[in-house]
């Protein structure tokens, strides 16, 4: 492959600079790429060599920080784990994550998502706190397996960009937060299920979901957030009918 290094591809990038643009519009850039080059690297080469004003988020470059999510040819993807060779011959359309307000270019506003994540008590609330000297909270491998997949979430918000119900109702707590909720509610060391469930019995809680399932397709970490939502529909439904029987052990 003599011209292995001479491949070029056209990227259409949705640009929006609030101070100077009336509204978002696509701008075309052509980049030279190699087999192993990711979309993120292409964006970095554009920023370095063609237009230093292009804005996008990234950090780890290895699909663990969750900051480089964007719409690539209409699908929510991590730019650092999406390769140009799979998108050739192009042109490739790159846009900020769907369903979120654009801050600038490919950067979206995450404040609302962060608030949702914070709201579901994203930490273990043990039945009783023990002093450090008393040792660890033990757990069997089976108990760990019950929540482990949900703990793989990297908060990339791809599932939110894929979810039509979140698109229709931005107050919907959404798949990612439900995955995180299940990560703690499914943990044998935790005793906060009641508090967390109480947050999702409403219209904007788990019941906004209509089982579309695109969230689990979009998830780059195979977290299966749709499964977390479904489990909690069952939990919420049982609670709806059995709440009369439950012991009120918190005020």
């Amino acid at each position: 492959m003599a011209d292995r290094d001479r491949l070029t591809i056209e990227l259409w990038i949705l640009r929006y600079r609030p101070a100077q643009d009336e509204e978002p519009h696509f701008v075309s850039y052509t980049v030279t790429y190699t087999e192993e080059m990711s979309v993120l690297e292409a964006l970095q080469s554009i920023k370095d060599e063609q237009d230093g004003s292009l804005s996008f988020r990234w950090s780890c470059r290895m699909a663990i920080c969750g900051s480089c999510g964007m719409m690539i040819d209409g699908t929510p993807k991590l730019a650092c784990s999406t390769f140009l060779r799979d998108l050739a011959p192009g042109p490739v359309k790159i846009a900020p994550l769907e369903n979120f307000p654009i801050e600038r270019d490919l950067v979206v506003t995450v404040a609302d998502f962060v608030k949702k994540i914070e709201s579901i008590y994203p930490f273990i609330m043990p039945k009783e706190t023990k002093p450090v000297e008393a040792g660890e909270y033990l757990q069997t491998p089976a108990q760990m397996a019950a929540y482990e997949p949900f703990s793989d979430c990297i908060n990339c918000m791809l599932c939110y960009a894929a979810c039509p119900q979140f698109g229709a109702n931005p107050d919907f707590i959404g798949p990612g937060a439900m995955a995180l909720l299940q990560r703690y509610n499914g943990d044998s060391r935790d005793a906060g299920s009641r508090e967390r469930l109480d947050l999702i019995h409403g219209e904007d809680g788990v019941w906004s979901c209509t089982a579309v399932g695109l969230c689990s397709e979009a998830c780059p970490k195979l977290v299966d957030p749709a499964n977390a939502v479904n489990q909690n529909k069952t939990n919420s439904a049982f609670d709806f009918f059995l709440r009369g029987l439950r012991k009120e052990n918190h005020s």
Partner: protein
């Protein structure tokens, strides 16, 4: 702490939907084959079909399956209409769940008439 959000009554319809979905997954295909393909070849008389329902057990089965199928369909219809923004939510709920409720009442009535009427 802010107060927890208000509950919705969605779980009622969701459980009916789930129960109907389970039954239709178990018996739906069989019913389609029997009533759609096998029976039309040699249709039984109305009396013969009605006679089946005189058996109390058959009556109970019909009483469980038919209404739950209605509720299963109603939930799908409601969510589809809601996603299409076909109208205000309460109206869509009234149309979909209302249809299932009417279907349920009519089913109960007819089966009782058949069981005890003649």
């Amino acid at each position: 702490m802010t107060r927890p959000p208000k509950r919705t009554i969605a779980p009622i319809f969701w459980l009916l939907f789930g129960a109907g979905g389970m039954l239709s997954a178990l018996f739906g295909t069989g019913l389609v084959i029997v009533t759609g393909f096998l029976l039309p070849a040699s249709p039984p008389s109305y009396q013969a079909a009605a006679a089946i329902l005189h058996n109390p057990l058959a009556g109970l089965v019909a009483l469980a399956t038919i209404p739950l199928f209605f509720w299963h369909g109603a939930e799908r219809l409601f969510l589809t209409l809601k996603d299409m923004r076909a109208g205000p939510r309460p109206l869509l709920a009234l149309i979909s769940y209302g249809a299932a409720a009417v279907g349920t009442l009519v089913t109960i009535l007819l089966i009782f008439l058949m069981e005890f009427g003649s």
